[in-house]
Symmetry: C2
Subunit: 477 residues, 2 copies
């Protein structure tokens, strides 16, 4: 996943538990939500879906055949599980392939390094061999004199990412990943390397996308595994000149990606749509179990739990498995969230609310409702359903969604959030270690239960989150 | 490290805390041991040594230039820290280089696998592409009909290694690693793969040596990382035919390895020698911090702590950094332990006792003395010194040492053990993840303190462990 800074800032705020007295939702609706919640805790399709997805297809890079094949399979999976109007929405994409890569310290005492090219990094066009210049921040690199890195490899080691429940150690370091190659190029460097953006201490480089500047990523960029960053930084601190040999055959190519969309149609107001988003693509190093096979599993299983509850809700519950979340494209039009927004056109006004599950499979601990809904009667009903499974209500500024639903949010669709425990998420995120065994089935089920209970409450209600937001807006200013 | 089954069986026995009344060692000797112990807990050279070793030289495969360079550096390090008679003892070796390797599932849904050739495995001489046949044990593979694996890849997945404090989950699985390639070859297979012998769930294959049969390792053998073993086994359980493409340019070569030997000469009886062993070589994937840079660090630092205590002990304390521990050689003569034994000749009779530190850097929890010494007055003195830092005395059968000192043990030298907590040792062992950051400095220091205190007691005593063992032998039968 890629987190918006806005969401990170929001989720760091204090949580407020709302006591649960009289509510707008009637007792029967709440009771049905509780029943759906409890059933989902013990039996749902989430683990089956993510097991099959990761085992059969492995890594699913944006625009790859694996992503395409997995999307076709997921559409069949939706149909087999009772989803309606299942369809695949294709869009063009600039894909990226890692190819072969290697890095090593050269000289009298050669050492192999464990590293990974940053996503959409260009290849090295042969081998780059150069001395390393260490910076402790992006700011320090930006402050280097013009031309001072000519023929050098710029290296930013800003220290290890701090583990935090809400993942807020991530945002500051992704700036280095996004802007580092361009900053290094501006000073004359021939390549850019950085300590991986991750909280683990394993020999696992964390890849992730870097930034296009005027249609290109300006320099080859690599992330070193934490122990390898330690080694290079220690050697420099010992007074050694560290010279590296880097090679990468990474390259971009024209391809297509696709969104997979399936509905549980509303019983009485099917045009009112609730979007449950996640993404199908993964980074190439792992098998995309926590990022974001789990999100698809949670949202699919929650929608199915609602569908099987004996009464379809009034509104339509739509599951969207977005394509190509993990990439910043040379233009704004290249990812699944944008393609979905373009596809729905004016129907965006019928989108009641959207939520995104893209933070692994560990437990949900907080609910975030849109402004105006916080503290409302709906919020009290939601708290009644979610508190028994460990989910508190939190007071936060308006969410802008993750990368998949951000275009919907930008077009005015309210967003809800179910915050997950991200303490270990960035140990695994964007590494080869993002595999099925990292998912705890009990916590996965708690996610499904939280989504199913909450979404049922929304879907079988007349709550108008846009109106609540509009009413609250003056006070919020 | 390679563990002997005998040591594993022994360390699983119950521990006995010996109360500490009157002892043969006089009060001043014990008090000095306590002083040495306490000083070592707070200040010693262990972390400096292992930091420099792993950072400057990285991986040190047996017979490699890195092992040779690191050995020369370590000899200088010993000299700089006051060791006497520092010398390098060279011996011939069949070395092994991994070269390049890769593995993937091929067919309609290709997936890259994370794997590593087993040590001394031959290369694939191009690419091997074949279907996989799964067995759940070495016995099941051995029971396959003759010729039933012709043209196939034999795969043994005997499940994940169990984490245990004494590491006793390791031994049974190393049988598969040692004998698997020959067993697969006997049934006509073209390659052998197995689930890594390790207790972690990371995308980290565990290498390790496999067995020579009549001068050769009969088949290319690979260890899959645990999540990759999961994937292959699950696909087969789902009814899929799994076809793999394997390649490896691994090869052997003629080289030399070496032992590094340095003494703290005895004050009054320098011919009486106590050997503190560990090994200099490491597997090629990691930097050999826990296996076994830590062992060298602990024994060097303990010997130096004794040397600096203000009075050299009566006997000689000898630190041996053995070369080439990690390899089974085509002949019996090729490792450092054998070379050392040949080198000392008749002086083996002057070797009072030997101990080996080769189980990482986590804390020592039990002392194991040779038969006859257990329960003796010496044992009570040792317990008095070790109990305050969390080390209990244990009653065990005679130790045969790890691979380095096993030749000494075989020649009659008594062996002591300081058992370390191995709970997480096999998460890291023989993987790329064996790096400096995995060492906890506080636990490393506790090791140094235990070794320094115990070895001082032995070195400044007249205890004859051979005589104690001989006296105890009839009763032990």
């Amino acid at each position: 996943m890629r987190l918006s800074v806005r969401l990170l800032a929001a989720s760091a705020l204090a949580l407020t538990l709302v006591a649960a007295p009289a509510v707008a939702q009637d007792a029967a609706t709440i009771q049905r939500a509780e029943t759906i919640r409890d059933a989902a805790m013990s039996r749902n399709i989430a683990l089956d879906y993510v097991t099959q997805l990761t085992t059969r297809f492995g890594a699913r890079p944006a625009g790859s055949k694996a992503e395409q094949d997995a999307s076709a399979w997921a559409a069949d999976y939706m149909r087999a599980h009772g989803f309606q109007n299942v369809r695949i929405e294709q869009f063009p994409l600039v894909g990226w392939e890692r190819g072969e890569e290697s890095g090593s310290i050269v000289g009298a005492r050669p050492q192999r390094l464990v590293l990974a090219a940053l996503g959409h990094s260009p290849g090295t066009n042969g081998v780059i061999e150069a001395d390393v210049v260490l910076f402790d921040s992006l700011e320090a690199l930006n402050a280097a004199p013009a031309g001072s890195l000519t023929g050098k490899i710029a290296y930013v080691d800003a220290g290890q990412m701090v583990r935090m429940q809400d993942g807020s150690g991530y945002g500051p370091l992704t700036r280095i990943r996004g802007a580092g190659p361009a900053a290094a190029a501006a000073k004359g460097a021939v390549a850019f390397i950085m300590r991986s953006v991750g909280s683990d201490e394993h020999r696992m480089p964390h890849t992730g996308t870097t930034r296009y500047v005027e249609g290109v990523v300006p320099l080859p960029g690599f992330a070193l595994a934490a122990p390898d960053a330690d080694t290079v930084s220690r050697l420099i601190e010992m007074g050694e000149t560290v010279r590296l040999r880097l090679s990468s055959t990474a390259h971009t190519y024209e391809t297509v990606s696709q969104n997979v969309i399936g509905d549980i149609p509303g019983r009485t107001r099917p045009d009112e749509i609730i979007v449950l988003g996640s993404h199908m693509d993964s980074w190439d190093l792992g098998t995309g179990a926590i990022d974001d096979g789990a999100g698809g599993a949670i949202t699919l299983a929650a929608a199915k739990a609602i569908a099987e509850s004996g009464r379809r809700p009034a509104r339509t519950v739509r599951v969207v498995l977005y394509g190509a979340e993990e990439v910043d494209q040379p233009t704004d039009t290249g990812n699944g969230g944008g393609a979905y927004l373009r596809g729905i056109g004016a129907a965006v006004e019928q989108h009641i609310i959207a939520g995104e599950s893209d933070f692994g499979a560990d437990r949900v601990y907080a609910l975030q409702l849109p402004p105006g809904a916080q503290g409302s009667e709906f919020a009290r009903a939601a708290a009644q359903v979610l508190y028994p499974i460990g989910v508190l209500s939190s007071s936060v500024p308006e969410l802008s969604g993750g990368a998949d639903i951000a275009p919907l949010a930008g077009a005015g669709v309210p967003v809800f959030g179910l915050s997950q425990d991200g303490t270990r998420y960035f140990d695994l995120h964007h590494t080869a270690d993002d595999t099925l065994d990292k998912i705890d089935p009990a916590q996965l089920n708690q996610n499904v239960a939280a989504w199913a209970g909450l979404v049922w409450l929304i879907a079988d209600s007349e709550v108008d989150f846009r109106a609540l937001r509009a009413a609250a807006a003056p006070a919020a200013r």
